[in-house]
Amino acid sequence: MADPTVAGEVIELEIPARAEFVALARLVVSALAASDSNLADERIDDLKLAVSEACTNAIEAHSAAGSSERVLVRCRAGNDSLEVYVEDRGHGFDPAQLPDHPPVTDPDRLKFERGLGIPLIPALVDEVEFNPTGQGTAVRLVMRLSGNGTGPS
């Protein structure tokens, strides 16, 4: 029997923009990632966390914009990479406009209970892009399958 492969497949999931559905997005993406034996468990955990952060951000954008539309999660399995797009229809944001967090040794750092997610994503995946779509923001997360890399951090 040939090795099962998901290469070339695209999986799309539309989730209601509500907090309880972020776990479903994580589950689908990590199950798909786990079906590819070229991705180590540790890297699947990283992707799962990055997807959680991107979906949380998308849901908060919808909530801020009062949008009742769905958040699109699209996974594209290639031969050498796994890409996940998270597309929201919130008002959009510019990652460059996010406030810089003070150094962690600064007592003021404790004022930042939110906004910890976006800085986390680049440390988890091999590539990340934030693209405005007109309706919101599309986040593209790329995990390379070749080699045994453990991320860019």
Binding site: A19, E20, V22, A23, R26, E42, D45, K48, L49, S52, E53, T56, I59, E60, P103, V104, T105, R109, L110, K111, F112, E113, R114, L116, G117, P119, L120, A123, L124, S153
Partner: protein, 119 residues
């Protein structure tokens, strides 16, 4: 999705054991439980993360908020965590420098009561 939050007393500490996944959906319950403990006068809290399967930045936010609240009462919030996938989240965000993280509740009780490995 199930989030377990159990509290027990240990040598002057309230030990809050968290089980399950901490994300944007479950974090509010976690936050409320912590706030409840503080308002009950429990100002020395150990949060045991050994039963946590997943924790994202919303969970980190709850812990940072709890630490801030406790420090304003001259208290402290200590963490117990040995799982590398959970520790990694603290490492990436630099929060290992903010929290005292112990290998076990016993070590946290001992460390938090005096000896002190806090940063």
């Amino acid at each position: 999705m199930d989030l377990g939050l159990d509290v027990e007393e240990r040598d002057g500490f309230a030990v809050l054991s968290v089980r399950g996944e901490v994300d944007v959906y479950t974090a509010p319950r976690f936050r409320e439980r912590l706030i409840e403990l503080v308002s009950e006068g429990k100002h020395r809290i150990i949060v045991d993360l050994e039963g946590v399967d997943f924790l994202d930045s919303t969970g980190l936010g709850v812990l940072v908020g709890g630490l801030k609240r406790l420090r304003s009462h001259d208290g402290d919030l200590l963490l117990v965590c040995t799982q590398s996938r959970i520790l990694k989240v603290f490492e990436i965000t630099g929060l290992t420098k903010v929290f005292s993280i112990f290998d076990s509740v016993d070590a946290a009780v001992a460390g938090g009561s005096g000896g002190g490995t806090s940063p």
